[in-house]
């Protein structure tokens, strides 16, 4: 890991990729990605180190008016961003291990995409289409997806404990606490 890595914020990393879509296949990709289930059924749910990601299509740039020289895009781009834990290499390995078909399904409509079957080529493809972050910030930089999940679960147990032990004697409270939390943390 580079020391001055702008793609990192604590344990979290940013991936921002722009993949040119094969002309004429934009609609196909759009329908495909918009049909993806959300939540637990989402293919992205199988990537345990992923906090959040967005997949969408950039077709044209918004003209701002005034004195702006208009910018026209000759291609559409499939934009894939991720905020994930740890190293990019491991994240790409996980994509190849867990969702190779899905990943191929949308990137196969992009120019010169090698496919997840050739893992090294896939990693090169993603890296070369990544745009380095200028600034990436995270609300809870030291926390991974798992540590957040664990903390939320622990808090639920603490709330339950508080409710169950309100009004108990000090001795009983202490006994229950030792029983419940001695191993928990």
């Amino acid at each position: 890991m580079k020391i001055f890595d702008h793609d990192r914020a604590g344990v979290a990393s940013a991936l921002t990729t722009f993949a040119p879509i094969i002309p004429g296949e934009e609609e196909t990709v759009r329908e495909l990605i918009e049909a993806l289930p959300q939540g637990e059924e989402s293919p992205f749910a199988r990537l345990p180190q992923l906090h959040c990601s967005r997949l969408h299509i950039l077709r044209e740039l918004q003209y701002q008016g005034g004195g702006q020289k208009p910018d026209e895009l000759a291609s559409s781009y499939l934009v894939f961003t991720s905020s994930y834990d740890g190293e990019l290499d491991d994240y790409l390995d996980t994509i190849c291990d867990e969702i190779p078909e899905e990943a191929d399904s949308w990137w196969s409509h992009c120019v010169a995409y090698p496919g997840t079957a050739d893992r090294a080529a896939f990693k090169r493809y993603i890296r070369s289409h990544h745009r380095k972050t200028s600034l990436f910030a995270a609300a809870y930089p030291p926390e991974t997806v798992q540590s957040v999940r664990d903390a939320l679960e622990l808090r639920r147990r603490v709330v339950d404990f508080v409710v169950d032990t309100q009004g108990l004697s000090a001795a009983e409270l202490q006994r229950r606490f030792d029983e419940t939390f001695a191993e928990a943390v």
Binding site: F18, I33, Q38, H56, I57, Q62, L73, A137, R155, F177
Partner: protein, 206 residues
């Protein structure tokens, strides 16, 4: 005296529509892509670079406790992979790509910036072309509505857990760890006092 209202026959800015591709549960991803004036680019570059070492982001943008992850990326040209891609897309300006993952509808998110740290917004985006710097907030919201990237799909590991809830849970976890250590060998009364101190300290997370 009141002034006569301007013509408002266009349909007004709609409230958040259902499933616009960048909303999941409680969370929204706002993606913007806007041109930056060339002359401003070096200043912006320094500011972003500095932002990693000086906690500007933390004290300014993250202080609202509703942004999970946010990034800024600036670039001038897109990848070119050869035919059948027609040509390399080179742009007249550097473009600022911004993506923020936050809790709640984007209009309230923008209010926070427009009413609390408008200077930051004007600094980062204000040297864009025709950017309506806040305050006021409504023209900025109209600009965002026009520039926000819609469509596609959005995934979040904890779609219904906001930043405040996560941070509250982390505070409870850290406080509990300290309590477990601290409470070894205490009498019941001493323990109860320590326990109540712990609760008092982390109650914003309960």
């Amino acid at each position: 005296m009141t002034t006569a209202p301007a013509e408002r026959t266009a349909a007004p800015t709609a409230p958040p529509s259902r499933n616009p591709g960048n909303v999941h549960g409680r969370m929204t991803a706002l993606t913007l892509f806007s041109p930056v004036r060339l002359k401003w680019r070096p200043v912006q570059k320094v500011a972003f670079w500095l932002g990693k070492y000086v906690p500007l982001a933390q004290t300014h943008i993250l202080q609202f406790d509703f942004i999970h992850y946010v990034r800024w990326t600036v670039f001038r040209d897109f990848p070119y992979d050869g035919p059948p891609q027609p040509k390399r897309d080179r742009l007249n300006y550097p473009y600022l790509f911004f993506e923020s993952n936050f809790d709640g509808p984007w209009q309230h998110y923008i209010d926070a910036f427009a009413y609390c740290i408008p200077g930051d917004i004007r600094f980062v985006w204000g040297r864009g072309i025709n950017f309506p710097g806040p305050p006021p907030a409504e023209p900025l919201k109209r600009w965002i509505a026009e520039n926000s990237r819609e469509g596609g799909t959005y995934y979040q590991a904890f779609p219904n857990t906001g930043v405040k809830e996560v941070k509250g849970a982390l505070a409870v976890r850290d406080g509990l760890r300290r309590l477990v250590v601290e409470s070894k060998g205490l009498s019941p009364e001493e323990f109860k006092a320590a326990y109540e101190r712990f609760l008092h300290e982390v109650q914003h997370g309960l």
